[in-house]
Symmetry: D3
Subunit: 116 residues, 6 copies
């Protein structure tokens, strides 16, 4: 079952992606497709790639991207302990400036796991 | 006619600029003036400069700056197709990390154009 | 007396720090401790270090970090004139992209000082 | 005629692009193609798009990207006055942190134009 | 056997780390220790953590950090195909601005693997 | 007496500033002036402002800017212990991604102080 926070987040994302894609800009369309393709199973599995996407989003400090990859990581069966090790890498590489984003990420993770 | 979202955004900006400028910090005052001067007609016209300001704001991922330049671009007669080509450059140069800002920019652009 | 904006900000920070720290990730725990230690009195005094933390947070454009250091600077007796000189350095080094964060920082500073 | 600095820069870029592309990573291949496509004539002309790419590269402070777009801008007939207006937008938006990159960009521009 | 490029890189790093650490700044010393600790075996294994460090370094565009993690990844037995999937995530999330760093990373990877 | 590394650095900076300023772009000229003005004695003294400029340059990871402010800090009588406390703030706020820049900064500081 999806959390309320995740639902609202997904609804806005879907609505605006539609607005963007209906403008028929070919570069944006292809980039959106390429984005999906990037995280597919390959030499690295989906779970690893989603954790890569998560840590990249954290050090670049993009709250929406963090939420997006947290949800995917949750779907791939990442444990809380694993997620917090990704958080640790992000905070060490990116510094304390990442902490506020870690707080919001942690809140979103609690909403996905029910705090378990 | 200005959209509600644009109005609120402009009201907050004006109020806080006033708070900042009344503190009489000379460097900030001059930087604010210089900022205005930067986008004036020169070897490049205002429309081109505002698109430059827009793409720079997008890759630096500053939502308020994006809105500011979108409004200026709208005043300069940029078409939706042109704006989406600026969006495309920003997303290719800056990566998918720019997508969430593109969503909010697209929403603001719809509010300016009435989705037309 | 703490402002309402500062109170809410601190409450959320405390609540989420607790959520994070109870996960017992050793790296995050030690980084949080190290963060506190960084701003303690040394060859440079606390006031100077908090201004360093403020300017770093501004050029990296982290609103929560800006608020955090503004509150500390206020506790250390920084004057409005001093804070605006820190704002000036941040805006010159980091560019006009810092202005929206300066607006929100200025608003928070008003809430701490009562606009005095 | 190409400058020596531009020649060396292009030789390294070509050699390493070949190394990267022969690894047959589909995502990277498509991104490289998409990159080329982004700057093609459309609602905005090539010259405008290259200036957009230049200003984005400057505020993100990527020397190689700056050189790449400067060369393209030169091919599109940008004047020195126009390029310096792009430099001005980049330095105002991105701050004095962009100045060292502006110096190296200016040096490269001189090598392209013969300082004329 | 270490490549010449890797050897020179490591020698400079060691020499300067020594200069830094002999100044006895406690915060820097502890951060350096914490950095080492972050990549140790835990819920995630060392190989995964080093790939996380690599992708974070790429989107933040730090050539030295990229080299450092590439060497660690090589020691952990990452294949060229896996490394290029990390490169792909970094370039999609971080955009074409990451390409010049990918070129230098690819060159360093060739020096580690002998291009095999 | 200036170190060789500092001399070469200053010579390139002066030469290229001249190239830039002779192009008579008013915005760039005024920004260069404003930059000088920012670090002048005010509510905060020059030494404090130069340390603010240093920490901002470090977290934004601009080697040339770091060198520039290190030289100014040296002129203002900053001790090695003080400089390393600025380094500590920068590394904690900005993360381990700042370490390579700290190494180069430390090397430059040694060249200014003769390692004393």
């Amino acid at each position: 079952m999806m959390s309320k926070q995740a639902e609202e987040f997904n609804a806005y994302r879907s609505k605006m992606n539609e607005v963007i894609l209906e403008k028929d800009n070919l570069v944006l369309k292809r980039l959106f497709n390429l984005d999906t393709q990037t995280y597919q199973d390959g030499a690295l599995n989906v779970k690893t790639k989603e954790m890569l996407g998560l840590v990249a989003s954290m050090v670049l400090r993009c709250d929406d991207c963090i939420k997006y990859h947290l949800e995917k990581c949750h779907n791939e069966g990442c444990t809380t302990e694993e997620i917090y090790e990704v958080f640790a890498v992000a905070n060490i590489v990116g510094g304390t400036i990442v902490i506020p984003h870690t707080r919001r990420g942690a809140e979103f993770w609690e909403s996905l796991t029910g705090g378990k």
